[in-house]
Every structure is written in C-alpha cells, then in structure tokens.
C-alpha cells in the first residue's frame, strides 16, 4: 500500500482514538462504590455552589476547590452521613450561600416570599386595569361624531 492511500485510514484511526479519549474523559473520576450512593452524590453536588465561581455548582466547576468539595461530599457519604448532615456541614463552614436552595429562615424569608408578593401585586394591578377599562365603556355616553359613524 502506498503511503498516501494509507492517509484516510490513519485519520480514521486517529479520529476513533480521539473519540475513545473523549469517552474516557466522560467517565466520572469521582465514581461512588454503589449506584445508590452515586445517585445521591450526583444530586447533592448539583445543589452546592462552587464558592470560587459562584454561579456554578461544584459538579460543573473545573476549579480545584470544587474538586476538593466533591471529595469532601464523597468521603462523608461513604462514611454514612445522610444528605442533610452533609449539607449542614457545608453550611457550617461556608454559610447558607453554598446552598443553591437556601433554607427558609428569617434572613432568607424574602428570597422565598418575594415572588408571591410580586405575583399578588401583578394580579391586583391586572384586576384594577380591567375594572377601569370596563367602567370606561359602561360610562361612555358621549355622542358619536358623524365622521366616525360606522357605515
């Protein structure tokens, strides 16, 4: 076989290897011993904020601190801690800000209540506007101009 005819084969093999490489990267290096733990682990690391990047979870963040926090979650889980105990230990060290879903407390109440308050404001505003408009139509006894008379 002449070298140039080998080229497509080489490219194909290289592409296949690259594909395999990407597949290997997709394997979670933080694999848990059982599928049940893995499920809990995957769910929990999506709930915890990466403190360095703030709008990413520690599951999605590539920074070293996120990896350290994932290790911390993994170790606590394997040691038999339940999700709430692990969450509490995170809050004890980093504060409520580490939870994407903050607990309902006096200091966080407005976060949870503000949407409902705004919704109520919207409903009342809507009702008022509709009432005013219907009142306008009902009370409209002005004489229609000759020009505007429908044909």
């Amino acid at each position: 076989m002449r070298p140039q005819r080998r080229l497509p084969v080489v490219i194909l093999v290289a592409a296949a290897l690259l594909g395999a490489g990407a597949g290997a990267l997709a394997i979670d290096l933080d694999a848990m011993p059982t599928s049940e733990l893995q499920e809990r682990y995957d769910a929990l690391i999506h709930e915890l904020r990466c403190m360095q990047c703030q709008n990413q979870s520690i599951a999605d963040s590539p920074v070293g601190l996120a990896a350290d926090l994932r290790r911390d979650v993994r170790e606590q889980m394997i040691a038999g801690k339940n999700d709430n105990e692990i969450r509490d230990s995170m809050v004890a060290r980093y504060g409520n800000v580490i939870l994407f879903r903050p607990p309902f407390q006096r200091s966080t109440a407005w976060v949870w209540l503000a949407p409902f308050v705004l919704l109520l404001v919207g409903v009342f505003a809507g009702i008022r506007v509709v009432r005013q408009r219907s009142a306008l139509v009902a009370s409209d006894d002005s004489v229609i101009d000759a020009d505007e008379t429908p044909r």
Binding site: D68, D72, R93, G95, V121, A125
Partner: protein, 177 residues
C-alpha cells in the same frame, strides 16, 4: 395623574430591589465567614521545612493568633507579602501561614526570596484544612482569639489599613506576652 401611580410605584419597588442587589451583592472581600464566633476547626499539619514536625490548633490555644492562607500560585499573595512582612516586624501576634495546595520546594523558595513573615507555616497539601476554615480563595486572613474562636476573616490581599482597623483593634490591650 393617577394612571402613573401604579407603574411609578412598581418602578420604584423594582429600582429599590435592584439597588439593594447591587449594593449588597456578595462582594468577595466582604463575605462574612460562617465560622465567626465559633471554635477554630481542629487541625494537625506538617510544618513547612520542619522535617516531620507538626503544628496543631491546640498548640496555639491560650493567646490570639492570625492565620494567613497563601500559595505560591496565588498572585494576590505576592501583592500582600510586603504588608505581611511589615506586620511581622511589629511582633504583635503570632502569624501562622497556611500553605494551601502548594509545592513545598516552591513555598520555601518563595519565603527565601521574598522574606518570611510567618512564625510557622503549616502545610495543607490536600486542602482539607482550608475547606474546614471555609476558605474559597487565597489570600484569606483569620483572626483567632485566645479562647480559640474565629473573630474575623479578611478575604483578599492584606493591607496596613485592614490590619490596623480589623486585626489590631481585636488584640487585647498591651499585645501578647
């Protein structure tokens, strides 16, 4: 006139909410430590260049001390180094370094070249102690009182002003023996 009342009120409400959001956004340098007023997390770590010697929090009990989290990979740590050297010279309080996720040789070289402000440097190679302190970015500096409670945490480069305002003010009068 009254038809502007509700939109106007809604606008002011939104503006107020957004203003609060902007002013109180979790600024990295002002985020409070969750450890404030609580006992310092327990640790026992190898001393940098100490040949197997260890430093534990128990050894530091009984007098106030300061923990500075740093690494040679951290640019702001280089920035604050002169301030730390000046603070060390005043000899007001033991300044303990926590060398976070770093290489020992690089850390020793850093201290040889730039000067060593630390009383002792503890090596936190795998970052477990830093997590227990709630560290999220170097440099961070903690003030721990004589009873072992965390009283203050500064995030970002230390400056003489911050030292004077937040650390010296927390020292017992007359300094430490």
């Amino acid at each position: 006139m009254s038809r502007f009342l509700i939109p106007g009120a809604v606008f002011l409400l939104l503006a107020g909410v957004l203003y609060i959001g902007v002013v109180h956004s979790p600024n990295k340098s002002t985020m409070q430590s969750a450890l404030l007023g609580r006992q310092v997390p327990a640790f026992s770590l190898p001393v940098l260049g100490g040949g197997g010697e260890k430093l534990s929090n128990a050894q530091l009990d009984g007098r106030p001390w300061v923990l500075n989290v740093w690494g040679t990979w951290c640019e702001a740590c280089r920035e604050e180094h002169q301030a730390l050297l000046a603070i060390a010279k005043r000899n007001q309080v033991p300044l303990i370094g926590l060398n976070w996720k770093d290489d020992d040789d690089a850390a020793i070289e850093w201290l040889t070249q730039l000067g060593n402000p630390y009383t002792t440097v503890a090596v936190d190679k795998d970052g477990r102690t830093a997590i227990n302190f709630g560290v999220y970015g170097a440099p961070e500096t903690f003030f721990i009182d004589a009873s072992g409670r965390v009283q203050y945490r500064h995030v970002g480069a230390m400056t003489p002003e911050v030292w004077e305002r937040e650390f010296v003010s927390r020292l017992p009068k007359g300094g430490f023996p």
